[in-house]
């Protein structure tokens, strides 16, 4: 039934997905300073024509039912950035440009993506100017102009409004819309992910939202959103489904489907069942769980899409707890982690092992990290040598500290709980006592995690396009010690601090890559976390549905519903 605790957690984790680097690049030429593959791609943006599907005249008509294990509830795209809401927002709203699966930016509402070359970005990288296409309209018929773009920014910064995020927008010092087609803005200092900020900023209608009594709670947000996107929300049956109808006024290309139904199926197993029986055509967001992948691949009339993600599964250890402060303990724990069986048996071999916090497709990924070797005897020896001697109960201890701690994850994540139990057993063999203490998402990802109250957690963490990780591992970013970052494991290492700070100041990508490779090396040697594997997402679609494209740069693969269509069977 409801595995939605798990869902909430996964949702939350995927929200990290959108994690933007807050670092600034001080490069004079913004384009040259773009470090991430995404940013790098900005200089080679595809022409608008490339957005069109391969086929010139896709057949129109039909309906697609997308099954989601969470319920989309917030339709104001500036208010919620949760992946579940994003999926529907992609259908109803537009942003200035989209990120395609290769990391290219494709213009949507803007006529082209600004670059230094095309004059859209000033030579100092601080002023951005771009044009809005003249045929864009909201579904109520009102033309979409630069005033709406300006308004969307102002709403985000409105102190009475609780936006999904202000990051990026808070860099803007000046913004104006001199004419209905033009918008120009200036930012404080060069900020590499700025174009990405706008790729993820969906334009809302000024004429409907200006002057509403309460910008946070209104019908626009909950029941009657109006956007310029390929579909419009026709019906919302809370707890059941949303019906979206093709927007005939869409500036195109697409949409090709008549109807897009987003169905809420609160359990992933049930979702898979409904996919098998044809009650849903697409398994959205979390897709098909590892234990069902083998069966999914035998299904007739279904397409199984597999895509590597930037998600990495870790054990996070809280360095505020004495037991984890000894490197020998961390080394022994890692050596006694049977990755082959965790990945091969528990996760049915779907995912790939990793040693880094970064995804292997990152340009900064260090492929030369020492591989992991499962070695129970070696682990025991490490602990013996370090003076951790078994007590009467078989649990090791040293200087009054017992080698005993708890491990937590979101209750209801069945497969992960198996891995957890398997770890518990192998660690017991080396004299480590790990208790399992799982809790619902609303509890574990609250203060328990953010204020470093845990001993250790098992968590999947998504990587932003940029390799920067200062807010995760920098000693100034520990929330429990007053820092503003996400270093809840309270990791402190002067060498890592130094490298990460150098990394964000360095402009040259090749040099940055060297710095981050060293960061990965230090973190691997010091075992700041225990990396387990990198996720592969498996999603099913009914055969005939064309243009379903997995995209690791966006939180939901409904990012391109405008170009989905049914190929005649």
């Amino acid at each position: 039934m409801f595995r939605h605790h798990d869902d909430v957690m996964r949702a939350a984790e995927r929200v990290r997905n959108g994690k933007l680097s807050r670092r600034t690049f001080l490069a004079a030429a913004a384009a040259a300073g773009f470090g991430a593959p995404l940013a790098e791609a900005l200089t080679r943006t595809a022409p608008a024509a490339a957005a069109a599907p391969m086929r010139q005249d896709p057949p129109k008509g039909g309906q697609v039912i997308v099954g989601l294990s969470q319920e989309p509830t917030v339709f104001n795209p500036l208010k919620s950035t949760l992946e579940v809401d994003r999926g529907v927002q992609y259908a109803i709203f537009d942003s200035l440009w989209r990120v395609d699966p290769t990391g290219n930016l494709m213009p949507n509402l803007a006529t082209e993506v600004p670059t230094v070359e095309n004059g859209g970005i000033s030579a100092d990288g601080l002023t951005y100017t771009f044009k809005i296409r003249d045929d864009a309209k909201f579904s109520d018929g009102t033309p979409l102009t630069s005033a709406d773009v300006l308004f969307s920014h102002e709403l985000i910064m409105n102190p009475d409004f609780v936006p999904g995020t202000r990051v990026g927008h808070d860099q803007i010092t000046e913004i104006s819309a001199p004419d209905p087609a033009t918008i120009t803005m200036t930012i404080k200092e060069t900020y590499a992910p700025f174009l990405y900020t706008w790729a993820d900023t969906y334009i809302v209608p000024k004429h409907l939202l200006e002057g509403v009594e309460d910008p946070n709670t209104n019908d626009f947000t909950s029941i009657s959103p109006i956007g310029s996107g390929p579909y419009t929300l026709a019906e919302r049956k809370a707890g059941e489904y949303l019906t979206l109808k093709a927007n005939p006024a869409y500036h195109g290309p697409g949409p090709y489907l008549d109807t897009l139904i987003v169905k809420y199926v609160p359990d992933l197993t049930m979702l898979f069942t409904q996919f098998k029986t044809g009650e849903v055509d697409v398994t959205g967001i979390q897709g098909i769980t590892a234990d069902n992948v083998a069966e999914a691949e035998t299904l007739e009339g279904k397409v199984i899409n597999k895509g590597a993600t930037a998600f990495v599964e870790f054990i996070y250890m809280n360095f505020g707890k004495p037991v984890f402060q000894d490197l020998a303990v961390r080394q022994a724990l890692y050596a006694a982690m049977d990755k082959d069986n965790i990945i091969g048996k528990v996760y049915y071999g779907v995912h790939t092992p990793t040693q880094s916090y970064l995804a292997d497709k990152s340009w900064a990924y260090n492929a030369d990290l020492e591989p992991h070797a499962f070695d129970i005897e070696g682990a025991k020896k490490i602990l013996d040598d370090a003076g951790w001697a078994p007590g009467a109960d078989g649990i090791r201890e040293k200087d009054g500290v017992k080698l005993s701690f708890s491990n937590s994850t979101t209750a209801g994540n069945k497969v992960r709980e198996q891995a957890q139990q398997y770890l518990q057993q192998t660690w017991k063999e080396i004299g480590v006592d790990m208790q399992i203490n799982n809790m619902p998402a609303a509890v574990i990802w609250g203060d328990y995690f953010n204020k470093s109250e845990y001993d250790s957690v098992m968590v999947g963490w998504n990587n932003p396009p940029d390799p920067d990780a200062i807010s995760r591992f920098g000693s100034k970013y520990i929330p429990a010690k007053g820092g503003a970052g996400q270093n809840t494991c309270q990791y402190e290492n002067p060498k890592v601090d130094e490298l990460l700070e150098a990394g964000v100041k360095e402009l040259d990508q090749a040099k940055r890559a060297e710095i981050y490779k060293e960061v990965q090396q230090v973190l691997r040697d010091d075992l700041a976390y225990l990396p387990i594997f990198q996720y592969v997402f498996v999603e099913g679609t009914k055969a005939g549905l064309t243009n379903y494209k997995q995209n690791a740069f966006v939180p939901s693969n409904m990012w391109n519903v405008f170009e989905w269509y049914w190929e005649a069977q």
Partner: protein, 310 residues
């Protein structure tokens, strides 16, 4: 979710449901002997008693009976089907022996069942007797509180409480116990209201007996019948509740097994390995049905009018 249903507005019907008859003591034969005879004439109740005794014994002797360590994970034996060598009832999702796990799980499930029943009986008895004996404001306050709790579906209460305290054997026991005492309290309260007017209680009071003495010497013994019935039915109820809490994700933490959390894990796998879901579900049903039958039999046996019922 077995519940003792009685008509609260009608103490007569409550007394009959609860098996109470103040005149029972006047009979020649010991009422307990009569009750025992009646109970064993109730064949389903006797069967329930035998089955539940077997289940309890198998839980107690789990360490002797279990062929394997119930926590031993053998990842290579994941979902080995029943009747495989070494796995008479198959293996679960991480290759643990189902038979051993079911035996040990019985310990936790039955322990929760009995412990929660104790909580229920203690709270229910105290509230019921105090409320009925003192009457007046005490009664009004306690009964309104009882009514308030009765107005929530139990599952709602279980869920809210479980999300509150976090999962442990103790917390789950308390949660179940504290959400199921209300029926008993009402039955005892209504019965006590009539009993306290009985001659021997009035006489005791006239002779200067203290309130606690009267409650413990006269009212409590007369309430043993309904308490026993409620206790039995509450064991069934608690075993079922434990499975619901586990199902809803707030149950006993792994790797320890209870029938409820075995079932919770299994729901995702029963397509691949139906036995993983089948056996714990069957055992829960068997246990709950057995205790319900015993409770039924007890009720009939302790109700003097039951004899007339054909």
């Amino acid at each position: 979710m077995a519940t003792v249903v009685a008509d609260p507005e009608n103490p007569e019907s409550l007394a009959s449901l609860a098996g109470l008859d103040p005149n029972a003591r006047s009979r020649v034969d010991s009422p307990w002997r009569i009750a025992a005879r009646r109970f064993f004439r109730h064949r389903l109740a006797a069967a329930g008693l035998i089955i539940s005794l077997l289940l309890i014994l198998s839980a107690i002797f789990a360490p002797v009976l279990a062929p394997k360590d119930p926590l031993q994970i053998s990842i290579l034996d994941k979902f080995v089907p029943p009747m495989t060598v070494g796995y008479p009832l198959g293996a679960d999702e991480v290759g643990r022996d189902m038979l051993s796990r079911l035996l040990y799980a019985g310990r936790i499930s039955l322990l929760v069942g009995f412990a929660a029943m104790l909580v229920t009986v203690i709270v229910g008895t105290v509230v019921g007797l105090v409320s009925g004996y003192y009457g007046g404001t005490v009664d009004a306050v306690l009964m309104r509180f009882t009514d308030a709790l009765l107005s929530f579906p139990t599952v709602f209460l279980l869920l809210v409480l479980a999300s509150f305290v976090g999962a442990s054997l103790l917390s789950i026991t308390l949660i179940i116990g504290l959400t199921s005492w209300m029926e008993l309290a009402r039955i005892l309260r209504n019965q006590t209201l009539t009993l306290r007017e009985a001659d021997y209680v009035q006489a005791g009071r006239a002779l200067g007996a203290t309130n606690p003495w009267l409650i413990s010497r006269h009212l409590l013994p007369n309430s043993l019948g309904p308490i026993m019935v409620a206790a039995t039915l509450n064991i069934a109820n608690a075993v079922l509740s434990e499975s619901y809490i586990s199902y809803l994700g707030y149950g006993i933490q792994p790797p320890a097994a209870s029938w409820g959390n075995m079932l919770n894990n299994a729901q995702n796998y029963f397509r691949d390995a139906p036995w993983v879901a089948l056996f714990p579900g069957l055992l829960i049903t068997l246990t709950v049905a057995s205790f319900n039958f015993i409770g039924d039999g007890l009720r009939d046996a302790l109700d003097p009018r039951a004899g007339r019922r054909g």
